[in-house]
Symmetry: C4
Subunit: 281 residues, 4 copies
């Protein structure tokens, strides 16, 4: 294989794996999406006692197939990018790595429970695939509204926390361990269960004073639920006067071969991040 042939070969893999503008790239993304979802369904079914006994062998084989597919994909991703380290240590690079290793780790670690969570993390890979679809615009708008209202929401959450600790201590003294309020941390947990209007009912006030305080906490929770909603609503309704409709620029799914940067415009010739040409030369 000449240097040029190898170049073209790597360039093609790059286009299929990293981008979604060609038919091959789209098909690859759909297959990857299905395998990821299958692998998570597998994790869920394995945890059902009856299932594991009946179909345990099939689950084990499927996990092997998925792991091999992910291993090959990971290797291809590393070799088809110029600067491998930029990919390996990126957020999605780490998620891809973590998605691949659980089965290999199981040879060394005996307790498989911790590996379950790692396998569930595979679901995060879905975001990368969705990032390059038509929902990108909506997702961006949501993320932006949330980011803009973050300081307000933090202040709000902080106030909720302080309220919970003080009210929790009060409830611990009023109700005490004999009514399920075993310690202040448990009372704070109950307080948050109540303030957020979840209300499990595993712990509930029994004394008249406790029920009275609970009523105040609930009405407060009911009143302040309006605050974050108001924040986000106001943020979303806000029109930024001079803002360009950013999501209407046609952004394609190219990924820089050099640094892995995304969100290049259709007309872009060079990476907006590192200045490298976007054509795989």
């Amino acid at each position: 294989m000449t240097e040029l042939a190898k170049h073209t070969w790597k360039s093609k893999i790059h286009e299929v794996i990293y981008e979604a503008d060609t038919p091959a790239g789209k098909i690859f993304d759909v297959i990857l999406l299905i395998i990821i979802l299958l692998s998570v369904v597998l994790v869920m079914l394995e945890s059902v006692a009856g299932m594991q006994i009946k179909y345990g062998d099939y689950f084990y084989i499927s996990e092997w197939i998925i792991t091999i597919f992910f291993t090959i994909e990971y290797i291809l991703r590393v070799i088809s990018i110029k600067k491998a380290s930029a990919y390996v240590f990126s957020f999605y690079g780490l998620i891809d790595f973590i998605s691949t290793i659980p089965l290999y780790l199981s040879f060394f670690i005996v307790g498989t429970n911790a590996l379950l969570t790692i396998r569930a993390l595979r679901l995060l890979r879905v975001f990368r695939i969705l990032k390059i679809t038509r929902y990108i615009g909506e997702g961006n708008k949501l993320t932006k509204a949330l980011k803009d209202s973050r300081p307000k929401i933090l202040v709000f959450l902080f106030a909720v926390m302080i309220l919970s600790v003080i009210a929790g201590t009060l409830m611990y003294i009023v109700e005490g361990p004999e009514h399920g309020f075993n310690s202040i941390p448990v009372s704070v947990y109950w307080c948050i269960v109540t303030l957020t209007t979840v209300g499990f009912g595993d712990i509930a006030p029994v004394t008249a004073l406790g029920q009275f305080i609970a009523m105040i906490i609930m009405v407060l929770g009911y009143g302040i639920i309006a605050v974050p909603t108001g924040i986000v609503s106001a943020e979303m309704a806000k029109k930024e006067p001079g803002a360009l409709p950013e999501h209407k620029l046609h952004i394609n799914t190219q990924v820089c071969h050099n640094c892995g940067a995304r969100k290049h415009q259709d007309s872009a010739k060079y990476c907006h991040n590192c200045g490298n040409s976007l054509h795989y030369e």
Copy 2:
């Protein structure tokens, strides 16, 4: 009966059954509405053990009367429209058909439980009747706001799902089957119960770590409930600059004899869908 007389006769039935602009049409709609509601109340009462024993015979007779009424109505609907297939395979045509058959099916199928749901589906017929009343404008506005914010809500629900699966797996490992978290699907169910602030309390975390994670999930759920609300609020507050106040056009309740299309303006002479004359010639 001459061809002309038959024509007039069919035309009259069409007006009474499909439209609501004449007194006869209005009376028919009101009667139909009452019978539909009665039939659903019947289904509900039948399921109450004590009721079924006492009044079982009356229930059976009433169901027969309703079925006969629906059968006659269905036949009239089919024969009074020119293109029967357009009605039969439309959404409401199928609902009408499904509403009619449960009793007939009960001769062939022994388990009556599945038929109960089919009978409850009769309630969907109510929407058609209401569609032709003064609530149509408000309903349209609501539907429009929901439709416009659908991509945002989908992105949001998708993020909720992924969060639930990952948090559910974590809770399954932390709490385990001994505290009611029997499997990952059950843990995911608990997670959604908690995130949506429903909080049944049939399953509740017992360990300190489990309660701590639950607190984070609840505060997250409390925070993100703001997102869909903000989306819909912003969507409803939005005024489309050049939009014509569509619901102020006077729309009558005529239905095209040919294709079954609705929402004709008062001044319309031809169907906006198939071009057929709206006068039954």
Copy 3:
């Protein structure tokens, strides 16, 4: 007592009882407010088993004092207005009458339970007193926003009802009486408990399919909670372009002697409802 003296005497009572612009009128309103609240607290304390045994006699005497006060007040209200029937059959006239009679009724009716609710209805009298304070403007704005969004909210509630009946029937078939879903009405009750995110947990799905349907119902409930909020938010944020700032007109607390109409402007000389002079001649 001459006819004139009687006139002046009745006019004074009218001013004290019906209006709040003079010091005497204000004092009367405050006393009335306290007695109403006391009478409701009395009803609540009576229902506590331990309290009734200990302080039963005091409760009985207090109820007599309150009843006598209300009786005198009711008689004065009737005689100090020109057209007594306009007051007696008005909403607040009926509430005043109902507030007065429970003790008298207890001589005829043995079961006192039904009388408790009647006594709790006394609380509705509070609204009249508050109507004439500085909160009137805010209350009006709230009432207006709710009234304007009523058709939208009705359409929304109607959709929720239909959804609950269909989902309730489905849950009844899936879970059945052995898991607490005893009948379709109970299942519909559970459905509304779930959709509104209340989640008592007295009934909870046990089967896998039931939990799956429950998840869909909860996420739906979570999603559609945004709708009424969005409706009211949009309604409140809406500025009516040509609207006069109605609540900034200075409205005093005078009540027409003839027809009982309220909300007269400071400059008004004649009742805006019946044209009678507002001066008690």
Copy 4:
């Protein structure tokens, strides 16, 4: 020590303790924040039965260290301000005092439970420290929106209260003590648990009529949750036309030596409250 040296010494302490513009002032604030949070974590851990037995001695020593630190800080605060009484009787002055004394009080009071709440109140001190950081602007905006919508929220809460009392009385009569609705106050508690969509499930209606009323209460609660949210959303979205962007004025963390007033602008030379020079002369 000359009078001047003493002056400079007090001036320096004032700058470190009360302000945060110098590096020393910032470090002091961070240390204080950590100690406050530690002291609250201590209170929470002490209440856990297992912890108290194992680490009781360490907890006791830590509490002594924190108390001594707070005592020194409180004395310095008093002596470094010119008008000590202005500080001592201010809100934060009282909180500082209350934060210091629990351990001293424990020599006189035997029951330590009441002291726990006092120790939890230390958390309120956090607000002072945060007041002088970058979140001040966001916090102000939130507080303002809440303050502006207070009359509306009060009217709303008042309506909720009256509804709860009437519905609670009704539920007490319908369900009665045999189904957990022991008295009217307990029924009102249940009503608020339901209206706020918390739904503990410790008490739940059992009779058909009770469940029917509960359904109405829940749907009402679901509908009216929109009201406070709408209020706050509208308030936050509102742009006050002529308002100056108040939080963009650069406000530093200086505190008047004379009266303790805060929020001085960078260019300010004299206290906006008492007219005293801001330079410690």
